[in-house]
Structure formats: structure tokens, C-alpha cells
């Protein structure tokens, strides 16, 4: 393709205007201009359709704008100047491929689709893509939906949430620690604003200052130890906490707000807190949407950590947030032991060969090892 002559001033002015309009608009470079829009931007002299055509043609030849069709009408969108220069130097094949990727915008396009749509042979496509990638016109991203497929996208674009999976994905991988952190933060915030906490002295107040600053983790692990020795019958979680506290001198009570008198934090309220709390990287915080926070809240509800009250949320009584840096060593304890009901506490309730068990069978009540174990370690 012959390199066109230098851009005329008129075109340059129009391009600058379009670019400015596009960057100022919400859609950014995705912004499309219809003929009307462009005529509106132009000075009176060039307003007629006749004058417009050569201008647009020239811009298009320079690769500064690209034409497309939307609902039957022609429309144009801008390209960055740098990209335009590169495009000028591309071969036809490369240019076609580039345009496919450009069309896919923030969704990205699979290698497979590229080949199919362009109809170019495989080797050439790969070569062209490599070149485009080297020229920093395109980039490869990972799509959560299809992590194995290579997905291409324009270099300057940020992949959409559909592709990345949302804020909770990091390079196509679920960022579990972030979720955990956010969940923890939510529990902290909701608990602080949904209960009145009060410490009631039991007898002598000598230990009342414990839990201040640095001793938090220590006190917690201390309590954990005590919890482990707690009575097995002490099954309900709420009671478990009480038992660990039994020996202390201070009793922490969670006082409920009288019904209908308190505004419990709502999802958007929680979102505000999470994004402004400085706990999460600013760029991430900006990205987090209320819907995503709502997702975390739902998970917390399923996990019995939060409960809905009216239009807001409240922590389930006894649920506490995990102080930073504290590692929960006995996960096991949370996963069952000491909890559950009559069935799951009995050896049969968690027996792996329960289906085989029967009178006179290879496994029966008499030769059951789980029972032996259970009876030996009981109470």
C-alpha cells in the first residue's frame, strides 16, 4: 500500500477533534461517530457531505480512523496516532488480522476464530500475529472461560470483566487470597456496625487489658488451646466460644440493637467501606464493583457468617473477623470435630464404608474399628 501524502491540515484538525471527543467520552477509543456527529464537530465550510467524504477517506487511508457499520449506518472510530503509524507499515494480511482483533475490542479474539474468519493459512497467521505482538500492537491475554485458548487483544486495551472473570481474578486465575481478605474485611466492618459490643467484668479485672495491640494473636491462640480441650458435648458454635471464655475474667457480650431501630450496612455501604479502607490496592479497589461485593456477601451468607436483616446485613452472632497475620492452624476444628449433630458425631455418621456395613457382612458393628477408636477417645 502506497504511503499517502502528508496529512492535510483539515484532516489533522478533524482527527484531533475526534480523538479529543473520544477520549473525553466514557467509551474512550471505542466511541463511534456517525456522520451527523462529525458534521457537528466540523467547521461550517466542511459541513456538507460532499466535503466530508474526501476528508474521511484521507483519514482512513492514514489508518487514523476506521469505518464500521452500526445499525445500518456508517460510523467511524478513532485510532491512536502511534497505532496508525504502525498500521501503515503492515501487510494486507496483517492489517486484516489487526482489524479482526480491533473489532473484538475488550472481549479479545481466539486464535482459532482469527484463522477461521480471515481464511488465511495457519502458518501465515501465526507469523503475522507474532509480528503484531512484537510491534506492541497486540497482546495475548488469558481468558478465564477458556484458559487454554490464546486470546488476542489490542495492546492499549484493558480486558473486560467477562474475559478476566472480574476483580477477583489475577491473570486468569482466581485470586483466593484477595477474596479471603475482602471477606474478612466485610466481616470486620459489618460486625462493628451491627452489634454493640460490651465487655462485662466478671470478677477481678486483672486481665482486662489483654488483647491490646500486640497480644491479640497470642491471646487468640491461647484461647484456641483452651478450645481444643473443651467438652465434646459442647457442640453449638456459640457455646464453644463461651466455653473458651469461661475462665477469663471478662465476658464479651454482643448486644443486639433493638429491632427496627438500627440501620444495618447494605451492600453499597459495605462496598464504600471496602474500597475506601486503604486495605486493598487502589487500582483493585477502583475496579471492585458493588455486584462483586454482593457476591462476596452471598458467599458469607452461605458460610453462615452474615445474615440478612431487612435491607442490610449483620454478622451472625459469634462470628468474628480474623486479625491480619493470624494463621488459623486448626482448620480441622472448624470442619466438623465437635460440631454437627447426633448423626455426624457418631462414628457411623462419617464412616467411609457405611454402605458396606451390615450384620454378618465384612464390616459390622462388632468389628468396626471406628467404634473402637470412638469409644476409646470419648469424653
Amino acid at each position: 500500500m502506497a504511503i499517502p501524502a502528508k496529512l492535510s491540515d483539515e484532516c489533522d484538525a478533524l482527527y484531533t477533534q475526534l480523538l479529543a471527543a473520544a477520549t473525553n467520552s466514557e467509551e474512550g477509543l471505542k466511541k463511534v461517530f456517525f456522520q451527523n456527529d462529525i458534521q457537528h464537530l466540523l467547521t461550517d465550510t466542511a459541513k456538507s457531505a460532499n466535503n466530508l467524504l474526501p476528508v474521511l477517506q484521507e483519514l482512513q487511508n492514514h489508518g487514523l480512523i476506521r469505518a464500521s457499520r452500526l445499525q445500518g449506518a456508517m460510523c467511524w472510530s478513532t485510532r491512536p496516532r502511534g497505532a496508525a503509524e504502525h498500521i501503515q507499515k503492515l501487510s494486507t494480511n496483517e492489517r486484516a488480522l489487526y482489524e479482526y482483533v480491533e473489532d473484538a475490542h475488550t472481549k479479545g479474539i481466539w486464535m482459532k476464530d482469527l484463522k477461521r474468519r480471515s481464511g488465511i493459512e495457519e502458518g501465515k497467521v501465526q507469523k503475522a500475529m507474532a509480528k503484531l505482538e512484537g510491534a506492541r500492537l497486540l497482546k495475548v491475554i488469558r481468558n478465564v472461560r477458556a484458559p487454554a485458548q490464546k486470546t488476542y487483544m489490542l495492546f492499549h486495551l484493558v480486558p473486560s470483566d467477562d474475559v478476566t472473570g472480574g476483580s477477583f481474578f489475577d491473570a486468569g486465575d482466581l485470586d483466593e487470597s484477595l477474596i479471603e481478605e475482602v471477606a474478612n474485611l466485610i466481616v470486620f466492618h459489618v460486625r462493628m456496625s451491627s452489634w454493640v459490643e460490651q465487655k462485662v467484668p466478671r470478677s477481678q479485672p486483672q486481665h482486662s487489658i489483654e488483647g491490646e495491640g500486640d497480644t491479640v494473636a497470642g491471646a487468640e491462640s491461647d484461647a484456641k488451646k483452651r478450645k481444643r480441650t473443651a467438652d465434646i458435648e459442647d457442640s453449638a458454635p456459640a457455646r464453644k466460644h463461651r466455653s473458651r471464655r469461661e475462665d477469663r475474667d471478662m465476658i464479651m457480650t454482643q448486644l443486639a440493637w433493638p429491632a427496627n431501630s438500627h440501620e444495618y450496612p447494605s451492600a453499597s455501604n459495605i462496598h464504600d467501606f471496602v474500597t475506601t479502607s486503604d486495605v486493598i490496592r487502589a487500582s483493585k479497589a477502583q475496579q471492585l464493583s458493588v455486584a462483586e461485593i454482593q457476591g462476596v456477601i452471598d458467599v458469607l451468607i452461605w458460610d453462615d457468617k452474615l445474615e440478612r436483616v431487612g435491607s442490610g446485613y449483620r454478622t451472625v452472632r459469634g462470628v468474628s473477623f480474623r486479625p491480619p497475620g493470624f494463621v488459623d492452624e486448626d482448620q480441622e476444628d472448624e470442619d466438623g470435630e465437635g460440631e454437627g449433630n447426633g448423626l455426624t458425631q457418631a462414628p457411623c455418621g462419617r464412616c467411609p464404608v457405611f454402605d458396606l456395613c451390615g450384620q454378618g457382612g465384612p464390616v459390622n458393628a462388632g468389628n468396626c474399628e471406628y467404634f473402637t477408636e470412638w469409644l476409646r477417645h470419648g469424653a
Partner: protein, 657 residues
């Protein structure tokens, strides 16, 4: 599936009544209803012995009998519910003990052991020295597992009960209370009839009475017929129920109209105090005696109602604290009087006319009456109790702020808020009207809190108004209870991720694997493992949705879902099986301790274990008792699961025979 239940019931009956009864029961269970000769043939037992066995079974209402006509052969069939109920004895006794005191618990225990009892016989048993005719009758089934008898001896429990119930009038007062609360019911002729036969008889009676042409089909007629049958059923039920008028006292005591006997009205007030009865009996010697030939039994439906209340209270206590839980318990107990069965009387009538569902309701003052006056209501809701101690209010407030800052790290709850913290005696007793009003107000605050909770534990009887009547939507809550039980089981068995997935599926319906993963915020490969595990346990299921005709797995979408009904019956069956296994373990454990048990059983040693046995032998004996106790306790704890999963909703038909 029913096999587990058969196994469990057989073990229970074997433990309770011996081999013969168990064999007869199993045969009946296997073959359905049989006449005695056929039964004898099937079971390979001589006819005479069959009759003996049937008699013992009938005494405990484990077998029902019915003869269509006067001289037609009598058919026998098993009563699953009653057979299963053998395992519930412990829970029933503890429920009664908690509500009506130790003595009442003992009485109920004895009646349970006997199956049913004549009031006169009971009186005799309590008044006469051990060894009397009736007392030996008690021995036949001293506990639901005779092993306990062997070691502890029935004599012991008998002795203690004799100590507890000191006079005939006390016994009568206890029985009256229990009858009034519906825990005991009169045994009528219809008690031992199979439900199906009863229904048949009902329908026949209605037909003869109201439909002489015997035409009961057709939309209009059928409706009329159903109504008439229900009416008659209710009438029969009323007839069978104990009432002071019809079951007149044989000893010329004062007759009181209806079901209002004042002594028991007063008893209700003190229901929670173990000594309440004593006090009452002493100050009111005019307790009217019950007719001596009245036969009573324990009504298990009623008891499962009580057990359900207990569990509901627990459910509310967990998120809202013990004070609120106690208030809720009081409300539930007040409501129990008004609900006939777990399903609620209103069901039948609601079907007839689509009127708005009427909730059973109780007045605030009734709740206040039920509530243990020592419970500190003020301290668990912010601002409710503070009006009393305004001067200190500000002080605590500042402290609280401080506390929040550095103590958020701790899991702080202390459900039991003992009254020790405020030493003003205002909440104790109803010393003045003002205090009473204040207390009622606090109760209301707790009730509003219960209503506000997402489970909506209770609501005002008339929506929108500020009436003081509170009701409970049992049907919805019972479903919640079942759901909570399933959740607990799943969480304990598999872990929290599984629970998360199950709840998610329950809430969101059928979902694809990827959707599940994104909702649960878990890696897809973890979710896959979770779903597969749940599927292999039949707790989650996948619906195939092939994209083409080939039905290739790779071209198929799988929609995962959770079927609560199925999970419920599955876990119920597993519970039966686990109970059976736990009971089966007892003989094996006993075998290990056989020598020492036999020694302790010897007539010259029994009762003097302390002196005659050596230290290590006593140690062994203790060990054995602990093991047995542990296994039995576990069984009764599993029964609590069954209460929830099977009996609470009243919708379970697996036991209808």
C-alpha cells in the same frame, strides 16, 4: 430403604421385650398384616407362644390389631411409629423432667416402661412396697434396653421414684398436669387400631349415617363426604380425649366443667420449678382424683411437638442470644397448647376453605407467665434494660468504645447473661404492676427482634397492627429447622465448602459447573471435586442436557441441583442405620466385659458392689457402664435428628402403616 428401620425396630424390641417379641415383629414387618395362625406358621413359633408374644407387643402398642367384625379373624400389623418410639423414651423423659419436674419425669418413665397403665395400678405401684403384683409388672421392661436393668437394676429406679412421689394426691396432680398438657392421653378402644382401618371405619360410619345411597363420588359429593369424615374424625378424637366431665372422678371430687381445673392453672405458673407441684399439693389438698380405671399412655405426637419447640428455641438462641431464646421458648410453649398436632389443626380446615392461614397465637402476658422469671431480659438488647440504670449508662458507654477498639479481634459472645451483673431485684417476681409492664415490654422487644431475623421466628398475629398477640408460622420454620439439620450434617461430614455449594444450589436452583464456581468464588477444579463428592453421596444431582443427538458427554451440559426432599430421606435412613449399628455395638462391648458383668450380677454381690468387688473390678465395671451410657446417649442424640427430619414437619409419610 425401609430395611434400616426394620433392623432398628427389631433391635429395639429385642432389647425391650426379648427374642420372641422381636421375631414376631420381624415376621409381621416382613409380611404385612397377618392373622395369628398365619403369623405363627410364618414365624415357626407355636401358636400359644405367638399369642403370648403378641400380648406383650400389644401391651406396648407395638402391634395394632383389628377385626372387621365380631367373629372375623383378628389381623395384626406392626406400628412402626410406636416401635421406633421405644428409642425416644430417654428424650421424652428428659423433656418432661425439664418442664414438669423430676417427679413427673419419673412417672412418665414408668408409664413408658409399661406401655400404657391404669391409673389405679400406678397408684398401687407407688404406694405399695416393692414386690407387689404390679411392681413385678414394671420389671418386664424396666428400661428400653434391659442391659441397663442388669447392672443398675430396675429396683433402683423404682426406689428413687418411690422417694419422689410421696402421696397419692401428688401422683394424681402430676398425672392431671400431664394430661392437661397432652403428654399423657387416655387409651381408648381405638388406640390399637391401624390407621387405615380406622379411616375405613370412619368412612363407613359416615356413609351409613349421611349417604344412604352409598354414592360419595363426584366433585360435590366427594367434598361433602370429606368434610363429614373430618368432622367425625374430630368428634372421635374429642371423645377419646380425656376430659373431666366424661371421665368423672370415681371418688366424689369436685367436678369442674370443661378442661379448666384450677389447680393446674396454677401449676402452669410454676411449671419450670421442680418443686412447684409439691408446693401446690401441700397448699391445695383438694386435688381431684382421677378415675382409677382410666388408662393412660404417653402421646408421642405431643412430645415431638415439645421436642420441636426445644429445637426451634435452640435455632433462635444461636443467632440471637439466650435471653431472646428463652423468650422464644416461652412463646413456643404457650403455643403448644393451641396446636393440636405437628401439622396444626388448621390444615384440614384451610384445605376446605381458602381462608387466610390463621396462626396459633399467644398473648404477651401468657408468654410472661411461661417465662422463667430469673432470666435477665434487659441486658442483651441495647437500650432496653438501660432505663433502669440510667446513672451508670454513660459510664459503660465510654468503656464500650474503648473495648471495641482493641477487642474486635476476639470472638466475643457470652450467651448466658447471668443476672449477677445487675443486682437490682426488679426482674424477680411480679411485685408490682409497673415491673410487670416493664417486663412485658422487654419481652416484646425480644419478640420484635425475633421477627426481624431473616428466618422470621415469630410474627404478630394480625399483621400491621400492634396487637399483643404473637404467632409462629410453624410450617415455614419447621422447614427451616430441617434445612438447618441437613446443613449441619453436610457441614460436619464434608466441610464448609460443600455446605456453601449445597446452599448455593438450594438458593439458585439448577446451575452449570462454571456458574457454581463463580457464585461460590472457588476454583472450578475444586468445585468439580466438591460436586462429584456430593453426587456420590446422593446429595447433589446433575441433570444432563445434551446439545445434540449423540449425547456425547463432551457435548452435554450438566445442570447441578440439590434435592432437599431426597437428602432429607437419605439422611433419615442413614440415621436409622447408624442407630441400629450403635445399638448392635452394645452386645459386643458387653462381651468384652462379660466376666465382670456376670460377677456383678451374682445375687450375693448385687447391691453390694462396693464391698464385694475389688478395685480393678469396680474400675472395669465403671468402664463398661460408661461405654454403654455413651452408646445409648449417642442413640438418643441421633433420635433428635430423626425428630427433626421425620416428625416435625408432619408431612413425612414413611411411617404411615
Amino acid at each position: 430403604m425401609a430395611q434400616n428401620l426394620v433392623e432398628l425396630c427389631t433391635i429395639l424390641i429385642e432389647n425391650h421385650l426379648g427374642d420372641l417379641a422381636a421375631q414376631i415383629f420381624t415376621t409381621l414387618a416382613e409380611h404385612g398384616r397377618l392373622s395369628a395362625p398365619t403369623l405363627a406358621a410364618h414365624a415357626n413359633i407355636p401358636l400359644v407362644r405367638t399369642y403370648t408374644g403378641l400380648a406383650t407387643l400389644l401391651e406396648e402398642q407395638l402391634v395394632l390389631h383389628h377385626a372387621a367384625e365380631e367373629d372375623a379373624p383378628t389381623y395384626y400389623s406392626v406400628s412402626w411409629r410406636n416401635a421406633y418410639n421405644l428409642v425416644r423414651h430417654i428424650n421424652v423423659v428428659s423433656l418432661v423432667t425439664e418442664r414438669h419436674g423430676e417427679a413427673a419425669g419419673q412417672v412418665v418413665k414408668n408409664i413408658l416402661q409399661l406401655g400404657h397403665a391404669r391409673v389405679g395400678d400406678l397408684t398401687d405401684a407407688y404406694n405399695l412396697a416393692p414386690g407387689s403384683k404390679r411392681d413385678s409388672g414394671v420389671e418386664t421392661g424396666a428400661n428400653h434396653v434391659p442391659e441397663a436393668v442388669m447392672v443398675n437394676g430396675a429396683a433402683k429406679s423404682q426406689a428413687t421414684s418411690n422417694q419422689r412421689v410421696t402421696s397419692a394426691s401428688e401422683l394424681h396432680s402430676i398425672l392431671r398436669t400431664l394430661l392437661r398438657f397432652g403428654i399423657l392421653v387416655k387409651v381408648g378402644t381405638r388406640t390399637l387400631m391401624p390407621i387405615a382401618d380406622l379411616q375405613e371405619q370412619l368412612q363407613e360410619a359416615v356413609i351409613v349415617d349421611q349417604f344412604p345411597d352409598r354414592k360419595v363420588t363426584g366433585p360435590k359429593k366427594a367434598k361433602e363426604f370429606a368434610l363429614a369424615v373430618n368432622d367425625l374424625k374430630r368428634k372421635w378424637r374429642r371423645d377419646d380425649a380425656f376430659s373431666d366431665n366424661s371421665d368423672a372422678s370415681s371418688r366424689g371430687a369436685i367436678k369442674r366443667p370443661g378442661e379448666h381445673f384450677n389447680p393446674n392453672k396454677r401449676l402452669k405458673l410454676n411449671g419450670n420449678k421442680p418443686n412447684g407441684h409439691m408446693v401446690n399439693v401441700d397448699c391445695e389438698p383438694s386435688v381431684s382424683k382421677l378415675p382409677l380405671d382410666l388408662i393412660v399412655r404417653v402421646d408421642f405426637t405431643r412430645c415431638s411437638l415439645g421436642l420441636r419447640s426445644q429445637r426451634l428455641q435452640k435455632l433462635a438462641k444461636r443467632p440471637l442470644g439466650s435471653a431472646t431464646g428463652a423468650v422464644y421458648g416461652a412463646l413456643l410453649q404457650a403455643l403448644e397448647d393451641k396446636v393440636y398436632s405437628v401439622r396444626g389443626e388448621s390444615d384440614e380446615s384451610a384445605k376446605d376453605d381458602d381462608a387466610e392461614k390463621v396462626l396459633p397465637s399467644a398473648d404477651l402476658s401468657q408468654i410472661a407467665e411461661m417465662l422463667d422469671p430469673t432470666i435477665d431480659l434487659g441486658s442483651s438488647i441495647r437500650g432496653v434494660g438501660t432505663s433502669k440504670r440510667l446513672p451508670n449508662g454513660t459510664g459503660t458507654d465510654g468503656k464500650r468504645k474503648h473495648v471495641i477498639d482493641n477487642e474486635f479481634a476476639e470472638i466475643g459472645i457470652k450467651p448466658e447473661i447471668s443476672g449477677s451483673e445487675d443486682d437490682e431485684p426488679t426482674t424477680n417476681g411480679f411485685s408490682s404492676y409497673r415491673n410487670h409492664a416493664k417486663r412485658v415490654k422487654m419481652i416484646e422487644a425480644h419478640l420484635v427482634l425475633l421477627q426481624e431475623h431473616s428466618k422470621e421466628f415469630c410474627k404478630r398475629a394480625r399483621a400491621g397492627s400492634t396487637s399483643t398477640e404473637w404467632g409462629v408460622d410453624f410450617e415455614t420454620l419447621t422447614d427451616g429447622l430441617i434445612q438447618a439439620e441437613l446443613d449441619t450434617t453436610i457441614a460436619a461430614r464434608f466441610g464448609s465448602t460443600h455446605l456453601r455449594v449445597v446452599r448455593l444450589l438450594r438458593e439458585r436452583g439448577k446451575l452449570e459447573e462454571k456458574q457454581v464456581a463463580s457464585f461460590a468464588m472457588t476454583r472450578i477444579k475444586d468445585i468439580r471435586a466438591v460436586l462429584t463428592e456430593l453426587q456420590s453421596e446422593s446429595l447433589a444431582e446433575a441433570q444432563e442436557l445434551p446439545k445434540d443427538n449423540q449425547r456425547q458427554p463432551s457435548r452435554t451440559t450438566y445442570l447441578w441441583y440439590f434435592d432437599p426432599q431426597r437428602a432429607q430421606s437419605l439422611i433419615l435412613q442413614q440415621t436409622y442405620k447408624a442407630m441400629a449399628r450403635t445399638l448392635q455395638r452394645i452386645p459386643f462391648e458387653r462381651e468384652r466385659f462379660r466376666t465382670i458383668i456376670e460377677k456383678a450380677e451374682r445375687t450375693d454381690i448385687k447391691g453390694q458392689e462396693q464391698e464385694k468387688l475389688e478395685t480393678h473390678e469396680r474400675q472395669l465395671l465403671r468402664e463398661w457402664r460408661e461405654i454403654e451410657e455413651r452408646l445409648l446417649t449417642q442413640v438418643s442424640r441421633m433420635d433428635e435428628v430423626v425428630v427433626i427430619l421425620r416428625d416435625c414437619s408432619g408431612r413425612d409419610v414413611s411411617l404411615a402403616t
